[in-house]
């Protein structure tokens, strides 16, 4: 390894290493690392019992349960339908396929505020979809079952997480070797067995990566959720909304403490996703070899 490095330095003919790496590190520190450091600095202004009581207060605990539970459910639903969408896009021909393929990325391209007001109106009691799903609340008012409810948050999280599974599974499915399926079929496996025993295991790393990406995205989501669900404490208040409401009350210490919890979770997710992607790549190279 050390020898390689010396060799690399000897034959390094391209210029600009110090300049580009220097600028990269400078810009990264200025925009990302130093501001992120401010969160931990602000937290250190709190004593440990203060910090602990803030991040474990009932309202915060309820928000974690809600955020994690719904994000996971939304990611699971996306995994199921995302696999079907990816499958259909790769294997079948049908009218409008190119448009559907391009539209899958809509949740990436559509600003969350637009998604938020659209879903909120669409699923409200007068909306195109919400009007078919109403109930009468405790005050005798007709309400959509999606407005200010967990179901509404769920819908928003499904929307924003939709492209992740499709886009992670699609390339793997395209590269899949047809010979494996043919071999399985010629050995007497029926179509379901081929899918379940041959194709699905090969898609597993990509499916899990997509699940993790979709889950991680949902954890931090704010814009599309706030309009449909509001932020009723203990009921529809997800963690980012809780942070926002603490900030609106100028409770910077509390907001920061909860933000630290979110950040630690994000770091763990990022690490996990990197491991999953490494697994996906290794799995693929092995299959191709």
């Amino acid at each position: 390894m050390a020898n390689d490095r010396i060799k690399a330095r000897k034959i390094r003919v391209l210029p600009g290493f110090k300049l580009t790496l220097g600028f990269t590190l400078f810009y990264l520190s200025l925009i990302v690392l130093i501001p992120l450091g401010a969160v931990f600095w602000k937290t250190s202004c709190l004593t440990w019992p203060e910090f602990w009581s803030t991040i474990t207060m009932p309202q915060a605990m309820a928000s974690y349960r809600l955020t994690f539970g719904l994000s996971f459910c939304a990611a699971l639903l996306n995994m199921f339908f995302g696999l079907i969408v990816a499958w259909v896009l790769v294997r079948y021909k049908f009218f409008g396929k190119k448009i559907v393929d391009a539209l899958v990325d809509l949740p990436f391209a559509l600003p969350t505020a637009v998604a938020g007001i659209t879903l909120a109106s669409l699923y409200s009691k007068n909306g195109w979809i919400g009007r078919y799903f109403t109930h009468t609340d405790e005050f005798g008012q007709v309400q959509s079952i999606f407005s200010s409810s967990r179901l509404g948050i769920f819908i928003a999280l499904v929307f924003i997480g939709l492209p992740f599974i499709v886009r992670t599974v699609q390339p793997i499915l395209e590269d899949l070797d047809a010979e494996l399926e043919e071999a399985a079929a010629s050995l007497g496996a029926n179509r379901w067995q081929v899918f379940y025993r041959v194709i699905l295991p090969m898609l597993m790393p990509a499916l899990l990566t997509g699940l993790a990406l979709s889950f991680a995205r949902a954890l931090g989501e704010y814009g599309s959720v706030i309009f449909i669900a509001g932020g009723i404490p203990m009921k529809t208040q997800i963690t980012p909304v809780l942070i926002m409401q603490e900030l609106d009350m100028f409770e910077y210490g509390k907001a920061t403490a909860i933000a630290v919890v979110m950040l630690v979770v994000s770091f763990v997710m990022l690490l996990g996703i990197n491991v999953l992607q490494w697994w996906t790549n290794r799995y693929n190279t092995n299959n191709l070899a």
Binding site: I84, Y92, L110, L122, T209, Y222, G223, T256
Partner: protein
């Protein structure tokens, strides 16, 4: 968190030709399920935005868009994107050059750090800038103490009413943060795959560093760069959560388009909110169109590279 989902993929030819396939009824069922899912979650909402935007006619639509507050929000959104996209573009090219063309220790750590902003919640992204530049934050405390090294700086800033948080600079900073990885994420794998032999050949043949970059590297990465810029721009113009934290939501001054949409919606001016939203939805459609076009262009370039 989007890297996997947004990188190029060139499908191999002949995937469609299969000796084994599912029975027709299974195929139809799966296509039906996929289309139903896409319709409910993507197509209906998209149609809904435009229908609602024109619900009170074209006159009301134009009136809403021409409103001074709406106009100032459009300008602010364009300004934030015009500053953040070029900066992140320069950063992306620099980071990709350093990472793809050279070997050094800690490369994987650097790659992970570049990805960080994708995994941070937008609300937290806004919060960190409040903690750095806000009145109760690092800079605020430092300026109030009136640091001896910079006598009078706090007074000068106060006199000129220079603010970062609840003002335009904060909005720009938050936008830069949330769009930070886009260009770098596109270029790094692309330039790693291309290797360094072409640039080395150019250098050996006597080209200067800049000539090598402009004549060899840039033509090779132009589609990837454009792809990253398109995605970066879409996010920059649409960011809501991070900007909401640092903006202070002063109408006509610190409201971007997404914040103006929220303000109109909270005023129960739904048609107005959807009118402004339709502009951003249009931007999203243009983004998707350009993205598909660039993917196609890149595939063509790839084929030419493989079969000379």
């Amino acid at each position: 968190m989007t890297p996997v989902a947004t990188t190029f993929h060139v499908p191999p030819a002949g995937v469609q030709r299969r000796t084994i396939s599912e029975p027709p009824w299974v195929r139809r069922l799966l296509i039906g399920v996929a289309l139903a899912f896409i319709s409910v979650f993507l197509i209906i909402p998209l149609v809904f935005v435009f229908t609602q935007a024109f619900a009170k006619g074209i006159g009301f639509y134009l009136h809403t868009i021409n409103d001074p507050y709406a106009r100032s929000s459009i300008w602010l959104t364009l300004l934030a994107a015009a500053i953040s996209v070029p900066l992140n573009c320069v950063f992306g090219v620099c980071a990709a050059w350093a990472i793809a063309k050279f070997d050094f220790y800690g490369k994987n750590v650097l790659l992970t750090l570049i990805d960080l902003p994708f995994s941070v919640s937008p609300v937290v992204a806004g919060l960190i800038y409040v903690l750095v530049f806000g009145a109760q934050g690092w800079m605020g405390l430092w300026l109030n103490a009136d640091h001896p090294a910079l006598p009078g700086l706090a007074n000068w800033l106060n006199e000129h009413d220079f603010k970062i948080i609840f003002a335009v600079p904060g909005i720009v900073l938050a936008t830069i943060f949330v769009t930070f990885p886009f260009v770098a994420r596109e270029l790094i794998p692309l330039m790693q795959a291309q290797g360094r032999s072409e640039e080395e050949a150019a250098r050996v043949l006597g080209a200067s560093g800049w000539q090598t970059f402009w004549r060899v590297t840039l033509p090779n990465i132009k589609w990837g760069l454009l792809y990253g810029v398109i995605l970066c721009n879409a996010r920059a113009m649409g960011e809501f959560g991070a900007v909401a934290v640092v903006s202070g939501r002063i109408r006509g001054q610190t409201n971007t388009m997404p914040l103006h949409i929220e303000a109109l919606y909270d005023d129960y001016n739904f048609t107005g909110a959807f009118a402004v939203a339709s502009l951003l939805a249009l931007l999203a459609l243009v983004t998707l169109g350009l993205k598909t076009w660039v993917e196609h262009k890149n595939a063509v370039q790839h084929e030419r590279a493989i079969i000379p």
